[in-house]
């Protein structure tokens, strides 16, 4: 414990990981929700009727909350580059700086300014202007993803620069922006945002539906979300696979860690379960399918794949990457099954069933799980590098005394735990209240929304 508290590198990494993990949950939702809201708004403007507008009104509240948490945790991130990783800006500031500056200039102001008009503009601007504001907010969130993913991709597969006196200098901005991994990473991330949002909307709508809150707004939101999920997840699996192949080409050590592959060999098995052990440099309790990994990585059952032992002292921690990858893939497969089962059920009966609705409720936050584990695969998979092949994480860390980092880390962890609980409970509280407002006293006035499910189930037994 005392060694942990004295380790500025480890504490800085934990703190940054905690901040970025907590932060990413909210922009991912803002990006997806902004486009979904634009869709709801356009449908409402065009089709009329209360359902789309009610759906918009409900989800715009969630959006505002999500956006606010995203903004304030994002401000934190912008400071931590300097407070925790001064070596980062000192070495690659010429590249990271402009990309971050463009994010602020083109994205942050756009979304933050038009958010006001989008949220509170009714009665002050025309419908068309308000829809336009919604579009600009959505555009802003997506532009923000563009810049930050360009930077993240550059850190993974740096290009378009030369090192002069230990500092990176740009030779081609196009090459910096569109590095080899950027198209895959950007597409993969945007789809992840879409899926995270779709499962959140579907989950909350299914929860309302199960509680007997089955108005038009719940139905249109549910239907749209299930469609989006069902359409995106197969595409996401394909894009994810392409992303993996791209990683194999540029960062073979990361793929070796994802696969739990120690020795370079032909006919590599696909490991389903294992406990990778860096001490013995082997897998314990391995369950695998022979030759399959060679096939899906190189499209030949006998192809050779590089193992971790080819990268002495410069491969990522294996256990974390290996398991994060399996969690992401596992959740992705569950998403495929649940979204298509729900869609087919909706298409055939026009209603969810008890099983599909329950599955959707359970999957409400599945997008977060997949998203965070996917990020862990790619970011922990880059270690020990901060910028692949250019700057090691250990060389960029702050010289701030460890106890200060520890103190602020504890502060952030407590704050984030409170905020996460507050966010999730407020989400369900809003859903509960929306139903109560619409249905008046017909609904069971339950003080604690979490008990509503049981009460609802009990009611059904009586029926």
């Amino acid at each position: 414990m005392s060694s942990l508290l004295n380790d500025a590198l480890l504490l800085s990494r934990i703190q940054f990981a905690a901040n970025i993990t907590f932060h990413i949950l909210f922009p991912a939702l803002s990006i997806g929700l902004a486009w979904m809201l634009l869709y709801f708004k356009i449908r409402s403007d065009r089709d009329g009727g209360a359902a789309w507008m009610d759906a918009y009104r409900f989800w715009v509240k969630v959006f505002a909350l999500t956006f606010a948490i995203g903004v304030v945790t994002g401000v934190t991130m912008s400071f931590q580059f300097g407070t925790n990783w001064p070596g980062y800006m000192e070495t690659v500031g010429n590249i990271a700086g402009p990309l971050l500056a463009y994010e602020v200039l083109t994205a942050f102001f756009l979304e933050a300014t038009f958010l006001g008009v989008m949220l509170f503009g009714t009665g002050r601007v025309s419908k068309g202007v308000q829809t336009m504001a919604t579009f600009l907010v959505a555009l802003g969130t997506t532009l923000s993803a563009f810049w930050i993913l360009a930077l993240s991709s550059w850190m993974q597969t740096p290009a378009g620069f030369e090192m002069i006196d230990g500092r990176a200098h740009v030779t081609s901005w196009l090459a910096v922006l569109f590095t080899p991994s950027f198209p895959y990473r950007f597409t993969h991330m945007l789809m992840a945002c879409g899926l995270t949002t779709a499962f959140l909307i579907a989950g909350i709508s299914a929860w309302r539906w199960r509680r007997g809150d089955r108005g038009g707004d719940v139905r249109v939101a549910l239907g749209s979300a299930v469609w989006v999920a069902a359409l995106l997840i197969p595409l996401q699996i394909v894009v994810g696979d392409l992303h993996g192949l791209n990683t194999l080409e540029h960062q073979p050590a990361k793929v070796a860690a994802m696969e739990g592959l120690w020795e370079t060999q032909r006919g590599v098995p696909a490991v389903l379960f294992a406990l990778p052990d860096e001490a013995t440099r082997s897998n314990r309790m391995e369950i695998s399918i022979p030759k399959l990994a060679s096939f899906y990585l190189k499209h030949s059952f006998d192809a050779e794949v590089q193992g971790l032992n080819d990268f002495p002292n410069s491969h990522p921690p294996v256990m974390q990457v290996f398991w994060a990858f399996r969690i992401m893939v596992g959740v992705g497969l569950l998403m495929l099954v649940v979204s298509w089962a729900s869609l087919l059920r909706l298409r055939r009966y026009g209603e969810l069933g008890p099983k599909t609705s329950r599955a959707l409720v359970l999957m409400t936050f599945s997008g977060w799980v997949a998203l965070v584990s996917g990020w862990y695969v790619t970011e922990i998979g880059r270690q020990p590098w901060l910028v692949q092949g250019v700057l090691r994480t250990a060389d960029a860390v702050t010289k701030v005394p460890p106890e200060r980092i520890g103190l602020t880390l504890a502060m952030y962890l407590i704050l984030y735990a409170v905020l996460l609980v507050a966010f999730v409970s407020t989400l369900f509280y809003l859903a509960h209240k929306a139903g109560a407002d619409v249905n008046g006293k017909r609904m069971n006035p339950v003080a604690d929304p979490y008990r509503a499910n049981e009460i609802h189930a009990r009611e059904h037994k009586h029926v």
Partner: protein
């Protein structure tokens, strides 16, 4: 100092100006909404809702100016960013804690359960106060060159109080324009109290900065500078008196439903902030870390600065334009916030 005809000579100057502009706009804009947040601690429950409504459409964008300011420090002066942030580690963390608390409380207090609302209100007030104090403390440390002697830290703590008062003054001025009835009248009382502490803070910074180094002292008090610069403090003093006069006259005028002076306290406070900011900038220039690193030593490579500059030239006017649009849309007295 590098040759100004060359890009590595003038580009850092341009970015110094951009950073200064961002910080100044931030201080004024987030200043009034942090101020309204602090004053909420003194308001009744219905007043609280009106106060939040008066800043609701703006606070997100206001805070973005901070991100731009820190973004320019990060991107244009990467070598200074680490030093400054390292020196301000704990106050920065405190400020971020405050900003997070108030940012989320803003939404949670509306959307959460009713019996949690008082707690979110406290988080909103406490967060606003903490952020303002932390910023003032950082300003104090900057003025004394990040030199942490006990007397300097005491001075920074005093500046922290004064900046919080300055924000309250801005907030009260904002409420004077946006609110009606009782709240408007209470804003006058709050503003009058904040006015004097703000003035004290500006005097404090003005006295301490020249004492920091011989160079700064000479910049202000050598001939002919002292005469050329005299209008800055003189004009600041006049504006304080104007604000004080407005606060004195406003209760009567508002009684007669005459709103024509309601903008005066806010307007004069903004100009006071602008003047004080320029005075400080004049003192500190060209240092980015006082007496240790100037803007040319800290600057990023010219090709990187040029790439950002193109974006700044194209995008900054657009940002200013649509910011003005948003303020125009939500002009006049604030109404209850309703999504729709």
């Amino acid at each position: 100092m590098s040759e100004l005809a060359q890009s590595n000579g003038w580009l850092p100057l341009v970015f110094m100006a951009v950073m200064g502009l961002a910080v100044l706009i931030y201080v004024v804009l987030d200043g009034y909404d942090l101020g309204v947040g602090i004053l909420m601690g003194l308001a009744s429950d219905t007043e609280k809702d009106t106060m939040v409504a008066s800043i609701g459409p703006f606070w997100d964008a206001n805070e973005t100016w901070l991100v731009l300011g820190i973004g320019v420090l990060l991107t244009a002066f990467p070598l200074a960013h680490g030093i400054v942030m390292g020196a301000l580690y704990l106050p920065v963390a405190a400020m971020l804690l405050g900003l997070i608390l108030r940012g989320v409380a803003f939404d949670f207090r509306f959307k959460g359960q009713a019996h949690h609302k008082p707690w979110w209100n406290r988080a909103f007030v406490g967060g606003s106060l903490l952020a303002a104090l932390a910023q003032g403390y950082m300003l104090g440390l900057l003025v004394v060159g990040f030199d942490r002697t006990p007397i300097n830290m005491l001075f920074a703590a005093f500046i922290a109080l004064c900046l919080a008062a300055g924000y309250c003054l801005l907030g009260a001025g904002w409420l004077l324009m946006k609110a009606e009835g009782d709240l408007q009248r209470r804003a006058i009382v709050w503003g009058r109290r904040a006015l004097w502490l703000t003035a004290l803070g500006i005097v404090g910074v003005s006295v301490a900065t020249p004492l920091m180094s011989r160079a700064i002292f000479d910049k202000w008090f050598s001939v002919p500078n002292i005469f050329l610069l005299a209008p800055i403090p003189a004009f600041t003093a006049i504006l304080f008196l104007l604000a004080a006069f407005a606060f004195k006259r406003l209760p009567v005028r508002l009684e007669q439903r005459n709103e024509s002076w309601a903008w005066v306290p806010f307007g004069s406070t903004v100009v006071i902030f602008v003047l004080a900011f320029h005075g400080l900038a004049y003192s500190l220039f060209p240092w980015i870390v006082p007496q240790r690193m100037d803007i040319w030593q800290a600057a990023a490579a010219p090709e990187s600065l040029m790439f950002i500059l193109i974006g700044v030239i194209i995008v900054l006017p657009a940002i200013l334009g649509y910011t003005a649009f948003a303020y125009w849309v939500f002009r006049g007295k604030s109404r209850d916030l309703e999504y729709g």
